[in-house]
């Protein structure tokens, strides 16, 4: 009965250790915490074996099994923890790659096509580059939450990150589009983003009659 009591006591303590950090919602903390308590229980068993083992065989067999269990736990725990971190990093890298591609494609294409239209104008009655851009893309600019969003034709207002903004140009000789991620961190966590947030990846495409300048701002 005493032995059952020890086992039940160990199980209850491990369960408590599991449920205390469980409230945080982070899965590794409950598992590590409960296995930590279980480790103390196994350590107690080692002491029990040393004190109560009736032969060398008992000690070697009992402690050997516990050492094997501890080794397997470290191997499996470290592997799975590292794998989970690797998967998160990989998914974020993929997301960043996707957003970089979308930012570049959706901001440079309308600007380059406008550049082509600008330089293809007749000699008389030439329009400024901003006017050419707005003539071709004016309906894609919508004011949402106080910002001039540039919404590509195949997107809805609820489209996913990155967001494109039509920035008011300093003169009619240039057009500026800003592509800002809503979730991928940029290089500088304190960077002031176009929409007032801080630290997200952001690109800026500036079109003048001399060409397109596409740069990563953060």
């Amino acid at each position: 009965m005493k032995r059952i009591g020890w086992i039940l006591g160990g199980m209850i303590l491990a369960a408590i250790a599991f449920f205390i950090p469980e409230r945080s919602g982070y899965i590794w903390a409950p598992v590590i915490s409960a296995v930590g308590i279980a480790g103390l229980f196994l350590l107690g068993l080692v002491v029990y074996i040393i004190r109560n083992g009736k032969s060398q065989f008992d000690r070697v067999f009992g402690i050997g099994i516990i050492v094997l269990l501890a080794g397997a736990t470290i191997y499996s725990g470290v592997f799975n923890y590292q794998k989970a971190g690797w998967q998160l990093d990989l998914l974020m890298d993929i997301r960043a790659t996707i957003e970089k591609g979308i930012s570049q494609a959706q901001s440079t294409e309308p600007l380059l096509l406008s550049l082509e239209a600008y330089h293809n104008q007749d000699g008389s009655n030439r329009k400024a580059i901003e006017a050419v851009f707005l003539e071709r893309n004016g309906e894609k600019i919508r004011t949402i939450n106080g910002f001039n969003r540039f919404i590509p034709h195949d997107e809805t207002e609820e489209h996913d990150s990155p967001y494109l903004y039509y920035a008011e140009a300093v003169s009619s000789d240039s057009v500026v589009l800003v592509a800002q991620s809503m979730r991928i961190p940029g290089r500088d966590p304190g960077f002031p983003n176009y929409n007032g947030a801080n630290g997200y990846m952001q690109f800026k495409a500036t079109l003048t009659e001399g060409g397109l300048n596409y740069e990563r701002q953060n």
Partner: protein, 251 residues
Amino acid sequence: MKGKIKRISALGWGGIILAGISLSIPIFPGWQSFLDIGLANPWRIANSIATILAIDIFSEGVPGDAIHTKARITALLSILFFYILGPGLMILFGLKEETKAEDGSNKLSVTMIGFMAGLVITISSLVTLTIETISMSAVHENSRISAKKSAVTDEVRQNLATLASESYEYWVLPEEHGGGSRSFEGLNLDQLPAYRDLNGTYSFAGTPSDTMLSITGSGLPEFTGGEDSSRVSVTVQVRPPDDIIRWEDSR
């Protein structure tokens, strides 16, 4: 403990090992679902939940609020069985003095049953933690290789998109702005500003003409040790005035 181990017949050992393995690996269909305790590697369960949260962050930007109750309970039960119940029964009952049955028969005592149950669970925990992790390591290595190859392909595509945009810009711009005045003739890669900083190998496929330019890019993933069969290769076409980027089949 030695006496109890000797008491178990060869057939008994076979049954214990089979039961231990079947708790870890579903040898008998329905066995685990019948028990519905779903003993499993708690570390793998934690990894699975972490993966679901990572996918949430990937698609929604924030982790989802699903609690994954069943998975968490399975993780807890597995910890209790694998690390406490199994070794506890095996050691505490294995080292206990065994009293003979009152009628002198060879019936299994509670102590012996407890010891054998402990052996079954401990074997199950060792099998689950080691064999499953070893097999997952092999799968994981393949995933890592595949991810590295995809990353190189993505980088080459991204770089080609930049080169295609700059080539298009060259085609559009008049000579006084350093362009080709609606022609790719005379263009070489060194004239494209992005070319200097790119990883990978890039070249024009064919001779640049007035109306079309093909650019091929290739990269070698670092794990290949230089094997050219692993090289990824992508080609993009620029067809002004309407097509800035048109991808061709890649490998």
